[in-house]
């Protein structure tokens, strides 16, 4: 009986001098794996344009049907993305999302990126639907707009614009 007690206390005593396993979360955060998949972000090119072109491939790739994309035509004066199309509405329901990363894989422009942020708790269901305001990264990334894939959109071009009046008979 005494022996057992002593053994138990001994273990406790030994553990006191070992390195601690628990972290003082949220003051101390655990190191996450390199490929950890957390909250999504929509990245921007170095010139500030959104990389997302509103193609909806993430939406169709999502096994949890958590993504909704509504595309629209870019305003030529004030484009959101390179090319003709952008997502005017982009929503991810974080409560539905299973963080599988298929959307990231489907993205043809590598706009969608799963960050390592995981603290998504909130008080209402609505606040878990992330819109463009929370998804689009405020900071630009080092990526450059690829050449000639999505040329800048200058509005619909008239059918016959090249020949000037002076060349007509």
């Amino acid at each position: 009986m005494l022996r057992a007690l002593a053994k138990g206390m001994g273990t406790t005593l030994r553990m006191l001098f070992r390195k601690k396993q628990t972290l003082k979360y949220p003051f101390v955060k655990k190191e996450r794996a390199q490929r950890f998949r957390g909250r999504h972000e929509l990245r921007r090119y170095e010139n500030g344009l959104e990389m997302c072109i509103g193609c909806e491939l993430c939406q169709v790739a999502c096994p949890a049907a958590a993504i909704t994309v509504m595309p629209a035509q870019n305003d030529p004066e004030n484009p959101n993305s390179p090319g003709e199309r952008y997502a005017y509405k982009y929503e991810i329901d974080m409560l539905r999302c299973i963080f599988c990363g298929l959307c990231e894989e489907a993205c043809p422009t590598e706009a969608l990126h799963l960050t390592r942020e995981f603290e998504l708790a909130d008080f209402t269901r609505e606040s878990h639907i992330y819109g463009r305001d929370r998804l689009v990264n405020r900071h630009t990334s080092p990526f450059r707009v690829p050449e000639n894939v999505y040329p800048p959109f200058h509005g619909l071009r008239p059918m016959h614009e090249d020949r000037g009046e002076e060349t007509r008979a």
Partner: protein
């Protein structure tokens, strides 16, 4: 090919060509079972009269043959020998196809641009030369790089030969004669052969 506005300058007959040449048009259309077939001939006639095919010519031909304007323009734009814009007295057409391109056609285009002081598609200020490049082969691959000036061919044109041709035309040489003398090379002749002079 008639120079631009020659008929009008004469002051003889200022009516549109299709009025003046109504009989020719009738004859041309009558040659074919369907009027549509006279399209090429009428376009050629328009170009003969004016030097190029103007918008009003397209409209007239479409109306006359019962075609849409689009159809006429489509045919006209297919053939590189029809011009939709005023051209100079000599239209220099450089073959833009691969054989001529590989044999020095690209350099030739650059050289001509420099010498004429115009870019491809433009006409010199004196109205003498228009420089064009075809999309398709001019069917003179044996003489690559080839030039076509109006209806005459010039084979194996290197920059020096091009200069000689331009100078001769500026001096008022006859185009057909020029092509006979320095334009065409004998079959089997090599680049240097035409070069000797």
């Amino acid at each position: 090919m008639a120079a631009i506005g020659a008929a009008a300058a004469d002051g003889r007959d200022r009516r549109p060509w299709w009025v003046r040449r109504e009989a020719d048009i009738e004859r041309l259309i009558a040659r074919y079972p369907k009027p549509k077939s006279a399209l090429m001939g009428l376009l050629w006639m328009a170009q003969e009269e004016r030097g190029y095919v103007a918008d009003e010519d397209v409209a007239f031909i479409a109306e006359r043959l019962g075609l849409s304007r689009g159809y006429v323009e489509s045919t006209c734009s297919f053939y590189s020998l029809y011009h939709r814009q005023p051209v100079g007295r000599y239209v220099i057409v450089v073959c833009g196809n691969i054989v001529c391109g590989l044999c020095g056609g690209a350099d030739l285009i650059r050289h001509l641009e420099e010498r004429l002081g115009v870019r491809v598609g433009e006409t010199t200020k004196d109205g003498l030369f228009t420089l064009l490049v075809t999309n398709e082969c001019v069917a003179a691959c044996d003489g690559a790089p080839a030039l076509q000036i109006n209806e005459e061919y010039f084979h194996k044109v290197n920059p020096q030969r091009a200069d000689r041709i331009l100078q001769a035309l500026r001096d008022g040489a006859d185009l057909a004669e020029l092509s006979e003398t320095i334009g065409l090379t004998a079959p089997g002749a090599v680049w240097e052969a035409g070069e000797s002079a």
